[in-house]
């Protein structure tokens, strides 16, 4: 589903954010990407739907080359859901309008169709009663659930999560993770940048560990938590699991 082949990326001419990264996510697979801050994990996930351009290598999404200048990027991006660290709901639109905008403008669905789909997904994330509120009137956890529903409204073939719980207060993290766990169990293809190792243990198939722009470890979940091969991954795990 997602193939990342020897991808390198530079910011400006000197700082190399990604160094020869290669990995793949199969259909229905849940892959967690972790690593210390500045390791390039968010950059990597943003390259998958070309929010960030790459300078070397190839990224292939459902058979379509993302970094091909001829690719219709808006059309391709519409098929991949993305959830951001800071939710990024559109503040001037009501919750239900946030869910309808791209359905109507990008997929060309009728307003009624989009509203019905939006209502169904809001119900699914438990926020139907808030449909006519504005994003700023909701809590962080609620906003992130809306953001997930907004991405799902596009009927994506895969979902990308960029630290979806990092901006949340602790008591709100689980309500977001619950939605993500359900999604994973339904067989959604997911690439998730997160520090939530509990989530990784529960639903991930594979875990990728990144450091300084490199993929240091790319292992099956049990292998990763059982016997991480690299020193750097061991150190990282001991730091985040010690509390």
């Amino acid at each position: 589903m997602i193939e990342i082949n020897h991808v390198s990326k530079w910011y400006g001419s000197t700082f190399q954010a990604l160094k020869d990264c290669t990995t793949k996510v199969a259909k229905g697979e849940v892959v967690v990407v972790c690593g210390p801050s500045g390791s390039g994990k968010s950059t990597l996930i943003k390259c998958v739907n070309a929010l960030e351009p790459i300078q070397e290598g190839d990224i292939i999404l459902d058979g379509i080359k993302v970094n091909d200048p001829k690719t219709d990027l808006p059309k391709l991006r519409a098929r991949v859901g993305m959830v951001f660290q800071h939710f990024e709901l559109f503040p001037h639109l009501k919750i239900i309008e946030n869910l309808c905008l791209a359905q109507e403008k990008v997929l060309g669905r009728s307003h009624d169709e989009a509203m019905a789909k939006g209502a169904k997904l809001l119900d699914r994330v438990g926020l139907k009663v808030h449909a006519n509120k504005y994003p700023a009137e909701l809590s962080g956890g609620q906003q992130q659930r809306v953001a997930i529903a907004r991405a799902l409204a596009m009927d994506p073939i895969a979902m990308l999560f960029d630290e979806p719980t990092s901006a949340l207060d602790p008591e709100m993290i689980s309500e977001v993770l619950d939605v993500m766990v359900d999604l994973a169990r339904e067989g959604m293809t997911m690439m998730v940048v997160t520090h939530e190792m509990g989530f990784a243990r529960k639903v991930a198939h594979r875990v990728i560990f990144m450091d300084q722009g490199e993929i240091v470890e790319d292992a099956q979940k049990d292998d990763f938590f059982g016997k991480p091969r690299s020193d750097r991954a061991q150190k990282f795990l001991s730091k985040i699991l010690s509390h």
Partner: protein, 243 residues
């Protein structure tokens, strides 16, 4: 000071036989309003386009926006009006220049367009700043949903940016109206022009300019009130300008 006050001068017939002095000032006021509104529409249209150009990733777009803004904001308004009114017709091919000079209402169109373009540079800078003040993630979220750049601006970035810059935009609208007084120099007999004629005919300089002052004040109070109302009706609950 030996001055003969005469506040009833407004109700005396003005030379020219079109009515009283008050009526004469009202004609000027109406022309001021027309010029101001026409110029403001031009400023908003061109300012929006140029403001957006200055925020696009394309270097060409940025330079076009940069050149526009620097050209129109670095020359005194008076010089610009002289340029359009006296110099431009001489630079054009003879027949075009002649057509321009003979155009009915040439001072009105020159003033409205000239002031509009001058103000567009200021609107552009404010809009660009408004867009730049939005979190980067907003544009990314719009892009990730499959919206094209144009759709992203139309449905997400501009609606928020315009709300943010509403207060300074109000000031620019007021400036546009006040700047129409400069048009007296190219023969537009707007409010300031009529006040001057009244002074010349009647020698009642204080009465004439007191009336003009009050009229300018009145239009601007109406504009400020109107913009406040607009601002309030567009406020987003819980977000920056909202409550």
């Amino acid at each position: 000071m030996n001055y003969n006050w005469n506040w009833s001068i407004f109700f005396e017939p003005a030379p020219g036989g079109t009515g009283t002095y008050f009526h004469m000032l009202l004609t000027g006021l109406w022309l001021t309003i027309q010029t101001g509104i026409f110029a403001w529409i031009i400023a908003l249209i061109f300012g929006s386009i140029v403001g957006v150009l200055r925020t696009l990733p394309s270097k060409t777009a940025y330079w076009i926006g940069f050149a526009w803004v620097e050209f129109f904001r670095n020359m005194p308004l008076l010089v610009q009006l002289f340029l359009w009114f006296f110099v431009l017709p001489e630079l054009l091919p003879r027949s075009w220049g002649l057509w321009l000079k003979q155009m009915p209402n040439a001072p009105f169109y020159t003033a409205a367009i000239g002031i509009g373009l001058f103000m567009s540079a200021r609107v552009a800078v404010q809009l660009a700043a408004g867009i730049a003040s939005l979190p980067r993630g907003q544009k990314q979220a719009a892009t990730a949903l499959g919206l094209t750049t144009l759709q992203g601006y139309r449905y997400v970035l501009l609606p928020i940016a315009f709300r943010i810059i509403m207060p300074p935009l109000t000031s620019e609208f007021l400036n546009t109206i006040k700047n129409t007084a400069v048009a007296i120099t190219i023969g537009l007999i707007e409010l300031t022009g009529q006040a001057r004629s009244m002074q010349e005919f009647s020698f009642q300089v204080f009465e004439a300019f007191t009336a003009a002052t009050v009229m300018y004040l009145l239009i601007n109070i109406i504009v400020v009130t109107g913009m406040r109302f607009l601002e309030r009706s567009l406020a987003i609950p819980g977000y920056i300008t909202g409550k």
